[in-house]
């Protein structure tokens, strides 16, 4: 049995790749029951594959001006650490199509993939809601709100009474041959994105 409660490495500061804040202005969202995940054999924090059920797709939500954000926060419980997750993003529009998608995200569970601005880490691309999914808990549009110019401010979080048993998973998908890189991971995700 693996030793789950013993640390086995420390951390050293360096100047080669200083950490930077924020995520890129894109969120990939897919229905939780549309995609199966493959995990690394030894480390459940690494997702090594995304496979679409039938011809299911991943949907891409674009933003701008570093306005998207992800939050993962440890929630202490009596039995084990759990993690709450939040994805804050916005949609610059208010069409019926957009409203339909927002309504669906309020009913069904989705998973979300965010890309950190700090790409040097092996956790540059992160998957949220891997176990219990996410639902849309905030969809606010104030028509006169100049901060988003009347667009929708949105928040995906864990469903009620559910939290994730792991921190956000790192997505790391290898090309047909060779080892996984940031580029190969993005290419694999983009290959599943709806046209």
């Amino acid at each position: 049995m693996s030793i789950y409660n013993k640390i086995n490495a420390g951390f050293t500061l360096g100047t080669a790749e200083p950490v930077t804040a924020g995520i890129e202005d894109v969120i990939y969202i897919f229905n939780q029951d549309d995609i199966t995940l493959t995990f690394d054999t030894t480390n459940p924090l690494i997702v090594t594959g995304l496979t679409a059920v039938s011809a299911a797709k991943i949907y891409k939500f674009n933003g701008t001006n570093n306005s998207f954000n992800t939050v993962s926060k440890l929630a202490k419980t009596s039995v084990a650490p759990r993690y709450t997750e939040e994805i804050d993003f916005n949609v610059a529009g208010l069409s019926v199509d957009i409203k339909t998608q927002l309504q669906a995200m309020g009913y069904g569970r989705v998973c979300a993939i965010a890309i950190n601005n700090y790409n040097s880490s092996d956790s540059a691309v992160e998957l949220f809601g891997a176990v219990n999914g996410l639902i849309l808990t905030d969809a606010e549009r104030s028509a006169a709100d100049e901060t988003v110019d009347g667009g929708y401010k949105l928040k995906l979080t864990n469903p009620d009474k559910l939290r994730e048993p792991y921190p956000p998973r790192a997505v790391s998908i290898a090309p047909v041959s060779g080892t996984a890189t940031y580029a190969s991971t993005i290419a694999a995700i983009e290959a599943l994105v709806a046209a």
Binding site: D33, D34, L37, T41, G49, T51, A55, Y107, A191
Partner: protein, 100 residues
């Protein structure tokens, strides 16, 4: 023992159904199980490195032959077994009540 298997999964622990625990890997998946799962979950064909030719034909016969635009990026082996069914969940909002 592993080399004698006809159904070889790609490396990693796989979910066969979305949301399930990722339990399936080469060490615990027998050929009989693989065949059983492939019949019920044809989309998992892409998770296998090798599948017997007879199974490839049966998977193909269960699915429509709609060509995917992404198909060209995949290896010819995966191409031949990839299920091409149309998604029934591409519009999940269809079942929502109109008044809410």
């Amino acid at each position: 023992m592993t080399t004698l298997k006809k159904y070889i999964l790609k490396p990693g622990k796989h979910q066969f159904a979305p949301g399930s625990h990722a339990t399936h890997h080469n060490d615990n998946l027998t050929d009989a199980e693989a065949q059983w799962y492939l019949e019920r979950y044809p989309h998992i064909a892409t998770l296998f490195e090798t599948i017997p030719e007879s199974e490839i034909e049966s998977v193909e016969s269960q699915t429509e032959s709609v060509k995917s635009t992404k198909e060209s990026e995949e290896s010819s082996e995966i191409k031949s077994v990839r299920p091409q069914q149309k998604s029934v969940k591409s519009q999940p909002h269809e079942d929502l009540p109109a008044t809410n």
